[in-house]
């Protein structure tokens, strides 16, 4: 009996703090989804908690998981890299808006080139990833890069083996610039790669590219920069070879017509602006138009509003690109579409 009393006291001691943490977390905003924006959402959440006392519990389980979770209504918002189609948004009664942007770069590991030493075009990237161009000293690559000594080595293609918004952006770009890619492979979060090896996640691809000589992969710009990977300059629609950085990413976003697709689900790839980096995408938030818990959704919108107002510097520090001001204004107006049960906008 005494033993039982001790055990009960012990259980109470361990469970009591657990119970209190559960109640503390109950007021937090919950979200789940895309892994790509996780670092900036975490950073914003930390700063917002310090400013307002409201915490954000964001689980980076992947875009597909984010869509599953918001459909199951277990979170206040879902996050996805690849935009959800307009008809699916209407069917589920959901709204979608962009939060932050990033660029995708072809990461390279080729002997004898500097960090920005190689120039490639979209169609050539398509041929490399289709396996049509097999060697680094292919005449097509040499012609674009006079003065660069390219090795007589097989090109090792590296792709994302997991479903990923980055893959969606990359294959969408290749479909835009290569007809053969469009008909044979297409655009999706994962596709049937004709050649190459797969790495898991941006870090898997950057790690594999770094380990394997004569390889080419595609990663979010932030990963290429943080891992000091060299990358290729890609010719844009205007014929220039812009350097991938926040100004060339924002150039792509500024020129785009955001209202042309439901839920802002437009493509920022291959934009015609003179200095636009050709492979850019936004990452999106999904919320219900009539949320079950309007108070929690209001808290989430307040967080997003705070991030739009105060978060640009933090985003740039982490190599993300903030949304241009006119787009932020459009998104804020769009939030009026989220209403409580009486039909009154909650924000």
């Amino acid at each position: 009996m005494r033993k039982f009393a001790i055990a009960a006291a012990f259980a109470a001691m361990t469970l009591a703090p657990l119970a209190s943490t559960i109640t503390a977390q109950a007021s937090d905003i919950t979200g789940a989804g895309a892994t790509f924006p996780f670092p900036i959402y975490a950073k914003w959440a930390e700063a917002y908690k310090a400013a307002s006392g409201v915490g954000l519990n964001y689980q980076s389980i992947g875009s597909g998981g984010g869509i599953r979770q918001i459909r199951a209504k277990t979170v206040d918002f879902g996050a996805t890299d690849a935009p959800v189609k307009g008809e699916e948004l209407t069917r589920d009664g959901m709204l979608q808006f962009p939060m932050v942007m990033g660029g995708v770069v072809p990461a390279l590991n080729v002997q004898g080139i500097g960090q920005r030493g190689l120039r490639l075009t979209g169609p050539l990237l398509g041929d490399i990833f289709l396996g049509n161009v097999k060697k680094w000293n292919d005449p097509k690559i040499v012609a674009l890069n006079p003065g660069v000594t390219l090795p007589d080595a097989t090109i090792n293609v590296v792709y994302r083996s997991d479903g990923s918004g980055t893959t969606f952006v990359w294959t969408e770009y290749l479909s835009m610039v290569s007809d053969e890619w469009k008909t044979k492979i297409g655009t999706n979060t994962s596709v049937q790669w004709p050649v190459g090896v797969g790495g898991r996640g941006n870090e898997g691809v950057s790690g594999t590219v770094r380990q394997i000589d004569n390889s080419i992969g595609y990663v979010e710009y932030a990963y290429a920069k943080q891992n000091n990977l060299s990358y290729a300059l890609v010719q844009n629609k205007a014929g220039n070879f812009p350097v991938p950085d926040d100004s060339s990413f924002q150039a792509a976003a500024a020129a785009a017509d955001w209202s042309s697709a439901p839920g802002f689900g437009i493509s920022l790839n291959n934009q015609p602006a003179a200095q636009a980096w050709p492979i850019v995408s936004a990452t999106f938030i999904l919320m219900y138009a009539k949320p079950a818990d309007p108070a929690k959704s209001t808290a989430a919108l307040k967080f997003f509003d705070w991030a739009f107002t105060n978060g640009d510097k933090l985003a740039l520090d982490l190599e993300y690109v903030p949304m241009p001001a006119p787009v932020k204004a459009q998104v804020r107006a769009y939030w009026k579409g989220i209403t409580d049960t009486a039909g009154k906008p909650i924000f």
Partner: protein
Amino acid sequence: MVAISEQTYKNATAVTRRDNPFRFDPLFAALSKAAAITVLVLLAGIMISMVYGGWDAFAKFGTGFLTGTQWDTMNDNYGGLPAIVGTLSTALIAMIIGVPLSMGTAIYLTQLAPGWFKGPVGTAVELLAAVPSIIYGMWGLFVFVPLFAAYFQVPVSQVVEGMPILGTILYARSPSGLGILSAGVILAFMIVPFIASLTRDMLDQIPTVLRESAYGIGCTTWEVVRHVLLPQAGVSIIGAIMLGLGRALGETMAVTFVIGNANRLSASIMDPGSTIASRIASEFNEALGMQMNALIALGCILFFVTFVVLVIARILVSRVKQY
């Protein structure tokens, strides 16, 4: 000493004397029965939910799921053959490399090694078994794969290029170092400690008198090992190998790092591929709808294959007890 222990014994019997010393036995029996039933319920629950989760895929593709080579997320057309072949071929390579290594280690440790050497090597083997699989994967990707590409894949590919059969099986179209063979080799490293330490324990259990009589009638070391020790421990060793095979079939993290994660079927073991476990690990996060069903169906197949392997191991191990 004797006096103290007698005193302790008397005290102990005095303290533990109870009215009915057996009244806790039914409770104990019920608790252990509950534990055993929990395991059974868990197993049944996993099995049922796997079959249920994968049912849509099995129903839609039928046997085509076992023979199909497509893994097309756009048109929701799935076939598991490349992953099934990858699972079986990496496990087979791991066996071909790992079993002789394990046998050699175990025989050396029990029969040939000098006493002072047995301890450190035995401990090293057991430490290898405790290394987490992600460490094997990272070591594989960062250390093994570049060396393997430069000093094995490239030269071998150049030699076998154009040859019949070998030119197909061993030719690397893109010598990245990642592939079925690399995964098989890493798996072999991972299963050696298991098989070797189990085999060592089994060889140690063989009565010394058997070995000594064999040496006494003039057998060479090879003859003792081949005709006395291995037949004695043979079936238990097969059981140990089966356990290693079970691990090789289901290993996920290390394989995902080094296999190249390609959803393609290739005749060459130098080419990248994927296993059931690595594909599930890669795609599960982002899978929706039919893709999720197909992944669970693949898991179901892996479950079945592993189950069959373990049942065979059980049968073999129980057979040895009859001797």
